[in-house]
């Protein structure tokens, strides 16, 4: 049937030789690195086995969840705190980002110096992990949701500013030019030519960032930002596992609801097309 079985076999071999030659060294380097890391971190299958009984004892200690924890005003209040931090932080972050994006957009800011400075500032913020921002803010304004809120506002600028600037640079230039030719001021150009075009992407990205910030706000609580993340960490550290489970369930419900609301608003405000 096959006229050249030998030749085909050779071709196959060549193919595998090439494949292995390409991936052999990177692959073995990767494996060695991985094994070395496992040894350096002291990670072994034993830890999995030893974790299993701990897991079951944890579960038995968590049930039934202690819903009474919400009768303590502080815990209930911390849910509001985390929502407020995320909401206000995202709002202020959006405002900052919008102004920075105006300065960074090539079609709105003619000065290359200002543009580069604005772009550099946003890139610098993106590089800085939020942990650094919150730790410094706690020193400056003290522990609590205020520090967390500012950290979220600052932490939003890098990503939102970049996305907003890109959206502004991609607007249709015709309305812009016609407004400029009628002698409109800069503000009028932004209000009537730029804003209507970028509004959908602006709103969609802001709502998306709110979802991210709400999760980040949980983390900030652990390092001094206040909110339900702090309460959860506290309950876990004090081995109050039944409280912890109740708080966990509540956190999940709140995060889920917030996501549903932002989804609803996105659809309501900008129609079916969901931009990200």
């Amino acid at each position: 049937m096959n006229k050249h079985p030998k030749k085909q076999k050779q071709n196959e071999e060549v193919h595998y030789q090439r494949w292995y030659r390409r991936w052999f060294w990177p692959g073995s380097f990767f494996m060695l690195l991985f094994v070395w890391c496992l040894f350096a971190l002291n990670i072994s299958p034993r830890q999995f086995w030893e974790g299993i009984p701990h897991f079951f004892s944890l579960v038995s200690e968590m049930f039934p969840p202690n819903w009474a924890v919400f009768t303590r005003g502080k815990v209930l209040w911390s849910i509001l705190e985390v929502l407020s931090m995320a909401f206000l932080g995202t709002f202020l972050g959006t405002l900052f980002s919008f102004f920075l994006a105006l300065l960074a957009a090539g079609n709105l800011t003619p000065s290359p110096l200002v543009r580069t400075a604005a772009k550099w500032l946003m890139a610098a913020e993106r590089a800085v992990p939020t942990l650094i921002i919150i730790l410094l803010l706690v020193v400056v304004v003290g522990l609590g949701p205020f520090a967390g809120m500012i950290a979220l506002a600052i932490g939003s600028v890098g990503m939102l500013g970049k996305l907003f600037a890109e959206a502004m640079e991609n607007v249709d230039p015709k309305p812009l030019e016609s407004l400029v030719s009628t002698g409109a001021s800069k503000l009028q150009v932004i209000r009537y030519a730029v804003l209507p075009q970028v509004a959908p992407s602006l709103i969609a990205n802001t709502l998306y960032k709110f979802d991210i910030n709400l999760r980040a706000a949980l983390f900030l609580g652990v390092v001094g930002g206040g909110g339900i993340g702090f309460e959860l960490h506290l309950a876990m550290s004090l081995f109050r596992y039944a409280d912890a489970l109740a708080i966990t369930v509540m956190t999940l419900v709140v995060v889920w609801l917030a996501e549903k609301i932002s989804d609803y608003l996105r659809r309501r405000i900008i129609g079916q097309e969901v931009l990200q």
């Binding site: 830890q47 701990h54 931090m85 909401f87 730790l135 020193v139 983390f219 960490h233 999940l252």
Partner: protein, 269 residues
């Protein structure tokens, strides 16, 4: 005069539809400001304190750098091992979640459901649960990173697998190849680029997470940063900040270089 009044009324009526949503927004913002204890006085008092802090941080404690190398390496190792475990788990799950590999609809839907449930789970909760189960240290950190990567990676992998060219697969099925052979020879070569690109992207995310995990108790550079700030040792803190920034930027650069090296110009995300 009348014309001016008329345009004013016209403008007002144009904005009237915004009145209700905007007033709700203002009300919410005000409430949020009260709850998060926004206080301009605190901020005003904080600014000189911030400048003072900067003065205390400069110059960084150069002698601390050698001591910070080991924790930085640990952060890197935790991120790496966590990401690799996450990739392995995500790949296995994605095979069960892809319609062209797994014909069983019930299993597929369950896997997709699990993946989206994981994505809905905040990472902090995952981490705190692992800390409660196995105690502090790098192991819960690795597990938290692995589990938190599965949802996103698994979905992206499954979508990539479903989008492969079906012809090589059909040809292999026709010659009677086993499932393992189909995956190895028809699926893997096609999804490899997107698999590696997404994994590298996830590694970038995980290195930041790993820094944060250190602060919560997994060990590594994040822990040193938090401790030095708590001890008011701001010069060491500044050194730790520099190390963190170098770590983050170097990893981003490395994954960028790898991405372009492996796939040429087109950068998949």
């Amino acid at each position: 005069m009348i014309a001016m009044k008329l345009t004013a009324i016209k403008t007002l009526s144009r904005y009237r539809s915004y009145l209700f949503p905007v007033s709700i927004l203002v009300l919410l913002l005000w409430g949020a400001a009260v709850v998060s204890r926004v206080d301009p006085a605190v901020l005003a008092a904080g600014i000189p304190r911030g400048i003072d802090l900067l003065g205390h941080m400069l110059p960084p404690d150069w002698a601390a750098f050698p001591q910070l190398m080991a924790p930085a390496l640990k952060t890197l190792q935790i991120a790496f091992v966590g990401t690799v475990f996450g990739i392995l788990a995500a790949f296995v799950v994605s095979l069960f979640a892809a319609a062209n590999i797994n014909p069983n609809r019930a299993v597929r839907e369950t896997m997709r459901g699990l993946l989206s449930a994981q994505r809905a789970l905040p990472d902090l909760i995952i981490l705190l649960f692992f800390v409660a189960i196995v105690g502090l240290g790098p192991f819960p950190g690795v597990m938290a990173l692995a589990v938190s990567s599965v949802g996103m990676l698994g979905k992206l992998f499954a979508d990539a697998i479903e989008e492969v060219d079906p012809r090589p697969m059909e040809a292999l099925v026709a010659v009677g190849a086993t499932k393992g052979q189909i995956i190895r020879y028809a699926v893997l070569p096609q999804v490899m680029p997107s698999l590696i690109a997404n994994s590298l992207y996830r590694f970038d995310t995980n290195i930041r997470m790993s820094i944060f995990l250190g602060a919560v108790g997994a060990g590594g550079i994040g822990f040193d940063l938090v401790v030095s700030i708590r001890l008011l040792d701001y010069q060491t803190a500044f050194s730790a900040i520099i190390v963190v920034l170098i770590l983050v930027l170097a990893c981003e650069k490395l994954s960028d270089v790898l991405r372009t090296r492996l796939f040429g110009q087109e950068v998949l995300r």
